[in-house]
Symmetry: C2
Subunit: 344 residues, 2 copies
């Protein structure tokens, strides 16, 4: 045990929080100070197909390594927040299922809390990312922030008056499953004509692969061929730069659909700030944002069109870690009145 | 001044709240006790084209008449809540515009507060209705209630963790302006392919009038002719009972679209209860609800399909008055922390 750990906790111990981002391919622990400055971090591959015990141990170690990297007294640890994929039971703090990780019924909150002797919370990873953008990013302090992240799927989240808007089993803001058309492709899962079916990176890659197959996209053919698994956001961007106008058309069409979905959602949620993030936006921000703006204009009500700003996400890979750390802090600090006394 | 008013307010005075529903054709004031039992009421026509002063006086009188009807000591008045149409400025308590009333920039909250010497609040009328259903109706006490009211347009509202979910200028949950199709009719206003364009009572009446014109709906022809202004929800219901199968088909199609819109919204908001109300539902609950269920099933994500219940609104004409009265009460009673201290 280090000297710092042996010392009795005093008022002088620096207060720290840990944010954890549990992804399908990587996990990351970040140590923050009171102002959400990064004091230390550790990123590791998430190994699939381990037993629950081995996976949890790997997770614990990652946090310990991040704390060591931060070179602070662990006695100052105020809380750990973890952003997790898959359906969660927020009340019990359990990951119900994370198919990419092979996890089922993992009581992550209690595990973290007992391992590190501090409060812990879990939240959906996308929600965590939007909360991070609310706390220190593009949506800072806004009354209502809608986050939309077009990637393999299309993720979304909403922070309303300082709280993550969530469903009873955590999952909500399934922006990808807005119904956009009466017919059309499906997203691989779910009904046809959804936003995800029309405009996710997977949908766009599918269209692009067909263009390659037809001989219409020579640059993309050279870069990736017809395997949609190889057509990533960066590949699409390079093909467009290389002169594949058909690919540019496909990406623009997808982005406009995302904009139309956002326009619809603005009519529902009336956010003050819409944060746009994810791989496609990062790979080609200018082209993508312009088309999204066009789509929004098409669908948003005149009375709402001047009520919000569209902004590009600012925190990149750190958004979920910041948001999860802020979320455990928020849960501790506020009196959480969810029902007026006169309602029963 | 009555004896009751002269007496010094004491602990024994019965606590009362007033809910006010300001509609385009009628206004209604209702006096409630602590348990939201109705103690008195007054309903009057809303006269259009009066000056702001005359209209406000009429409104004040309506509340005074309801208080008289209740036969209670007005000294017990704890607050007045008013549900209002049109865009509102909630912070300042001002009706920005109510075209049906010819009102513009009416500071209703301060007017009520100074006339009756008590706290006052205004809210959107549909929001008030959903809050009423949350407080004492079909959505009682649920964590998240989505209300959908297909009528001339399609109104919507959401109560989340005890609060009305609202936009910065009040208007939000514009369920009628969900984008449902890439093409299709408009709602008279706004973009094409919206839920309101496809499935409002006005959209359905338009379809029905065309069927009459084509000679396909003899019963409706006799009841209303081809004037869409005369084809109300009750008329449609009677035509269906009378054997106009084409009209039944039209109504069913509209209801299914509403269900599909609700399915989309469940994917976004993950409510625990969806409250369905409005003229079409009231006129033919069985037929309408069955088709809505069908539409929901088509669009809702498998992971969310067992997370909510669809219920028919219970409070009818009283929902907005109850909700508005409860809203002013809620605003008084809770500490309204909207931003964590660490966000700036």
């Amino acid at each position: 045990m280090s000297e710092a750990q042996q010392a009795a906790p005093s008022e002088d111990v620096r207060k720290i929080w840990v944010g954890f981002d549990l992804g399908g391919t990587k996990m990351m622990a970040v140590v923050f100070d009171e102002k959400f400055e990064v004091l230390g971090r550790k990123r590791r591959r998430t190994r699939e197909k381990n037993t629950k015990e081995v996976s949890l141990r790997r997770l614990t170690e990652t946090i310990q390594l991040a704390l060591e990297d931060a070179k602070v007294d662990p006695a100052g640890l105020q809380g750990i927040g973890a952003g997790c994929p898959g359906p969660l039971d927020l009340k019990r703090g359990v990951i119900l299922e994370a198919p990419n990780l092979g996890w089922k019924d993992v009581p992550l909150r209690d595990h973290l809390s007992s391992e590190f002797k501090c409060p812990a919370e879990i939240c959906n990873d996308v929600d965590g990312g939007v909360y991070g953008e609310y706390v220190r990013g593009a949506g800072r302090g806004a009354r209502c922030v809608l986050g939309v992240f077009p990637g393999t799927g299309i993720g979304g989240g909403c922070v309303y008056e300082g709280r993550i808007f969530h469903g009873s089993r955590s999952s909500c803001m399934e922006v990808g499953f807005l119904q956009m058309a009466t017919e059309g492709p499906a997203a691989g899962v779910g009904p046809v004509g959804t936003l995800e079916g029309l405009a996710s990176r997977l949908a766009i890659s599918g269209e692009a692969a067909k263009a390659v197959f037809r001989g219409k996209a020579p640059k993309l053919a050279a870069l990736a061929g017809t395997d949609i698994g190889s057509i990533r956001s960066g590949t699409l961007s390079k093909a467009i730069e290389g002169g594949d106008t058909v690919i540019e058309e496909i990406v623009r069409r997808g982005a406009e659909q995302v904009g139309r979905g956002i326009g619809s959602l603005v009519n529902i949620l009336a956010p003050d700030i819409v944060v746009l993030g994810g791989g496609l936006v990062e790979a080609m921000p200018k082209l993508y944002v312009a088309e999204v703006q066009k789509g929004i204009k098409r669908n948003v009500l005149p009375s709402l069109k001047d009520c919000f700003q569209l902004k590009v996400a600012e925190l990149g890979d750190y958004s979920t870690a910041i948001g999860a750390a802020a979320w455990v802090r928020q849960k501790q600090s506020s009196s959480w009145v969810c029902k007026p006394s006169f309602v029963n």
